[in-house]
Symmetry: C2
């Protein structure tokens, strides 16, 4: 018997999941969300977004959230940052990991960040310098939004994705995050692009961030697993969306993603009962929001056993 491999699932609900939610979620709910995710065995949580409060009032409490959850044991807390200023704030808040995100699509970059993608690469260079100078143990994830296509521009040249991945890695990224920001990816493309990025970045970990906008979220996760990726973003209840991706959509559902991984024999460390209890809590906090996912309706198969993680 082979020892069981692990798949890391990062709960991004308190960040991506809240991005388009109209109601400002109380800080204590966000903190409870993170605590319960950790208690359910989720190994990483993106707990907030370090965007300017003027741009997104939902995340005006990023400092309070960070203060409450960054020191909790048993998981890796991270925060999204769109620029150097957010990164400096994240470093000051003591996050062990920060996730920078830029766009491979020029049109998405201009619409979302008001700058060309080249300027975003230069910004990452300054973020790496700030990290190296102030908190060299902080890990930097470097995310490439619209890796698989863009609602504004349509197709995104794969060569540009590979070039950006190579340069972000060369500048000092600890992980490359390939994001299907608008739900355009398909399994064949995921396998092809993961292989192409691997040619550029070697053994640097790849994270895949998927949305289920067109129903292919878990099909794409399966393709990612087959391509060797062992780290995926997901959100409780499939919450989430992008202002530039119209239509019902969200991140891949954490419950179903965990079931996918476990049913294929990968250990996730996740306790399904506790995860379902978290989902119910979040549903109660966010009345009127659309919650997706099938496992919460149907339950685990008869006789299902979670995979046991490989001993370290």
């Amino acid at each position: 018997m082979n020892p069981t491999e692990t798949i890391t699932l990062r709960e991004v609900g308190p960040r991506d999941g809240l991005q388009l939610v109209k109601a400002i979620v109380p800080t204590e709910h966000k903190i409870a969300w993170v605590r319960r995710a950790v208690d359910a065995g989720v190994p990483e949580v993106e707990v907030t977004s370090l965007v300017p409060p003027k741009v997104s009032p939902q995340f005006a409490d990023a400092g309070d959230v960070a203060e409450a959850v960054v020191g909790l044991p048993g998981y890796v807390p991270s925060a999204l940052t769109p620029n150097l200023k957010g990164a400096e704030r994240g470093l000051a808040l003591g996050f062990p990991k920060l996730n920078y995100v830029m766009s491979a699509s020029e049109e998405h970059s201009l619409a979302n960040s008001r700058r060309p993608s080249e300027a975003s690469i230069e910004d990452f260079e300054r973020i790496v310098e700030a990290r190296n100078a102030g908190a060299p143990d902080t890990r930097l994830g470097a995310g490439i939004a619209t890796t698989f296509g863009c609602t504004i521009q349509g197709e995104v040249p794969e060569a540009r994705v590979y070039e950006i991945a190579s340069r972000l890695a060369g500048l000092g990224a600890d992980e490359i995050i390939l994001a299907d920001t608008v739900g355009y990816a398909n399994p064949a493309q995921v396998k092809r692009i993961v292989a192409g990025v691997k040619r550029e970045i070697g053994d640097l970990p790849i994270v895949i961030h998927l949305h289920d906008t067109r129903g292919l979220g878990l099909a794409n996760m399966t393709a990612g697993i087959e391509a060797g990726v062992r780290f995926f973003d997901a959100s409780v209840g499939g919450l989430g969306g992008c202002p530039f991706a119209p239509g019902a959509s969200g991140n891949i559902n954490l419950e179903d993603a965990a079931f996918l991984a476990e049913s294929m024999g990968f250990a996730t460390g996740i306790d399904f009962d506790k995860l379902m209890a978290l989902r119910e809590r979040v549903e109660a906090w966010l009345p009127g929001e659309r919650f997706a996912g099938q496992l919460s309706q149907s339950g685990l198969p008869k006789g299902f056993h979670a995979a046991a993680a490989q001993a370290a």
Copy 2:
């Protein structure tokens, strides 16, 4: 450039999709459903179920439906049959294809058909004899329900699935249908079982019938494609269910399945606009039913082009 391969998607909505629907759908709606599916380019439709009307009043009009749609050009109409009696009726109705279904799970077989699986294999032998005697051009699909697990029995021995597939093929099946009746399959298992069945049946076509009960429907379809399967059942709106599979569940969604196939470069022959119009029509016919699927909410990607089928 390789010529584009084709993936055949069979609409099973008028059969599996209606199995648990409480309201009796008028015969003219069923006929319009089939006509519109054919007009949308769907290459095969399972148009009814040849179960005794006492067991399922929904399909008491099977003869009328058959009379209206069996002769339509441009597609393959088929009907499900649970036994010899249904097959004899189907042969008399002139169906060019009949889909027999039996269970690999002994407990499901007893609960659903009130006989052990061995008796079902013997019944298929009689069906083949009836076909050979009366309508030798009629193709016989042989379906193995609970191939991937069973809500009553739990695990189903893979060796039994392989044995059944081998025997059905040996008796004269033209296609083997592997059915995830209750939504227990995972992608690793799909690849493994398809490979195992192929070892038994060689080049005989395999059809995969999937339910999205636990969210893995299209992930499992992707695994099937990777394992070389080019024929899948699906239903408009993801309608459908099994009396022994509790919880919200349905067949994989035809719209999203077609998008999955086309986005991976396979031709399905399906016109998405017409398919969406059919979905809207079916939704109007079945108020209160649960309709699934993402593409109907989000639309096709910007600049999306359907794959062109390989010239014959």
